[in-house]
Symmetry: C2
Subunit: 293 residues, 2 copies
């Protein structure tokens, strides 16, 4: 379905290194939301082509991963992409344009909304646990357990001692998820307040975008610096060796989409995926098939 693949140019250094949250004190204001680290092209004009050029490799590796899951090969890994960011930062756009390049059969997508009545009655990690990708799958979290230290903290949905405890709980949870064979790729889509303002204005201007607008978006925007503080704490305290945070500059949609696709590709490559070997006698099956033709 896609046009003839060109060999995609690569960043000089792996993108996951370039975007990994820098060590030390986190200062989001020092990270440029308009940056384009590692982008191998000229800019917006070649981004659709450069992003699409990742599709064949993504597709091939995803199929290997899926195949391993299908035959139930022991130790089959999975991948979990966690997308977080302020309203309009483009979680949906990334899913449409980057994740949309991958066979939907291998993708397990979960959008975490405000917890339901039932979910509020259980530990906040329970619904997350249920949504973890099965072996061979690529899980995508559109928001995640991080909401439980973001909105929960800013809106004081739980007392401070509760959200305070959660950072360590989340680290322990993620370590457990990783130990069970899941690669966790955490992406913070970093957008500026100015760019958010423009995107919200566009949603209000265009009737076909009204459905994306929610008056609550302004309420959250009015607490911009509280949210930036909460993000800073979450990034600082939950960027671990095994599950580092990546800060994806998100003011430019074309860069953001390319970057998440590239991060996913690098992750899949690092799994060294081989095609599963036959668990049946190939010669015998060739013979059986011949007898039917």
């Amino acid at each position: 379905m896609t046009k003839t693949p060109t060999v995609p140019p690569e960043p000089d250094r792996p993108l996951h290194e370039l975007l990994r949250l820098p060590a030390g004190e986190v200062d989001l204001t020092a990270l440029d939301p308009r940056g384009t680290p590692g982008y191998p092209g000229a800019g917006k004009e070649d981004a659709p082509e450069l992003t699409q050029a990742l599709a064949p490799a993504l597709s091939d590796l995803q199929e290997r991963l899926y195949a391993a899951g299908r035959v139930g090969a022991e130790g089959t890994p999975s991948v979990l992409v966690v997308l977080q960011g302020m309203d309009t930062s483009g979680k949906g756009g990334v899913i449409r344009h980057a994740i949309g390049m991958v066979d939907p059969q291998g993708v397990q997508l979960t959008a975490f909304k405000a917890p339901t009545e039932e979910e509020r009655g259980e530990h906040y990690l329970e619904r997350v646990r249920r949504a973890l990708p099965r072996p061979g799958a690529i899980g995508i979290f559109d928001r995640s357990h991080y909401e439980d230290v973001l909105i929960a903290r800013v809106e004081e949905l739980v007392p401070p001692e509760e959200w305070e405890r959660r950072y360590e709980e989340i680290n322990a949870f993620e370590a457990e998820v990783i130990a069970s064979g899941t690669r966790v790729v955490k992406c913070f889509l970093h957008i500026s307040a100015a760019e958010q303002g423009e995107r919200l204005a566009e949603r209000l201007e265009k009737p076909e975008k009204h459905w994306k607008y929610n008056p609550g978006d302004i309420d959250a925007r009015l607490r911009w610096s509280d949210y930036q503080d909460a993000y800073t704490a979450a990034l600082q305290r939950c960027s671990t060796q095994l599950a580092p945070w990546h800060v994806v500059p998100a003011d430019r949609k074309w860069y953001r989409n390319w970057a998440v696709a590239q991060l996913l590709l690098e992750t899949l490559r690092s799994l060294d995926l081989e095609w599963p070997t036959a668990d049946f006698d190939v010669e015998e099956e060739v013979r059986r098939l011949s007898a039917t033709r």
Copy 2:
């Protein structure tokens, strides 16, 4: 991400009319698995382009449907595409190449395998009911409740009086699903025994395709005519005015993928989807937003 859209050529008559199961006695041998009804191009060489040309319209209509579901507009419909066919007929290929053109956020994909222990303890339609698409979503069934009158009949998993009763139950179930606002598009991917033989041989020849091969495929192939009889009965008895069966010739993968994408597009068009209207005061929100910039 996709190349500049061209206006896709259309079949002379709606494809759903051309592929609808003909009235009267069903004779699958009279329906050509290598046919290309309604295909507006020359053949294999222009199929990737003509299929991709459907993407912008599919994408636009799917977003309208999704938008209606997101704002919870009353009476928001959903679509359910049911894919059935013998092994290698291309259910997976259709999902990858046709359904893969749609935003994954709007797709609810369910692959029905042999029922689990737990599922065997409940009515066979229960797990199907749980998998129905939510309003605004496009549900895809990779196999479906029809397995309960196909493999269940051929392999005698239940007594004849049980599967015999199911055709009417299925019709009643689908009528109920449709009444609740779901458009049901049933596609039988019609492949020939000869083509299946070639595809199975290819899976055995290529190590990277071994994972797709299952010795059970030959067992089913040995009962080819029993399966064709069971499909004939299912098509005959469950092709209703509201939920007709479509027979998609599937020996040519390029036609099959185009055809299912075109059927989905025609279905989405028939829903007359408008963008949802704002349920908030736009002027007031513009004012609130301005105050933050």
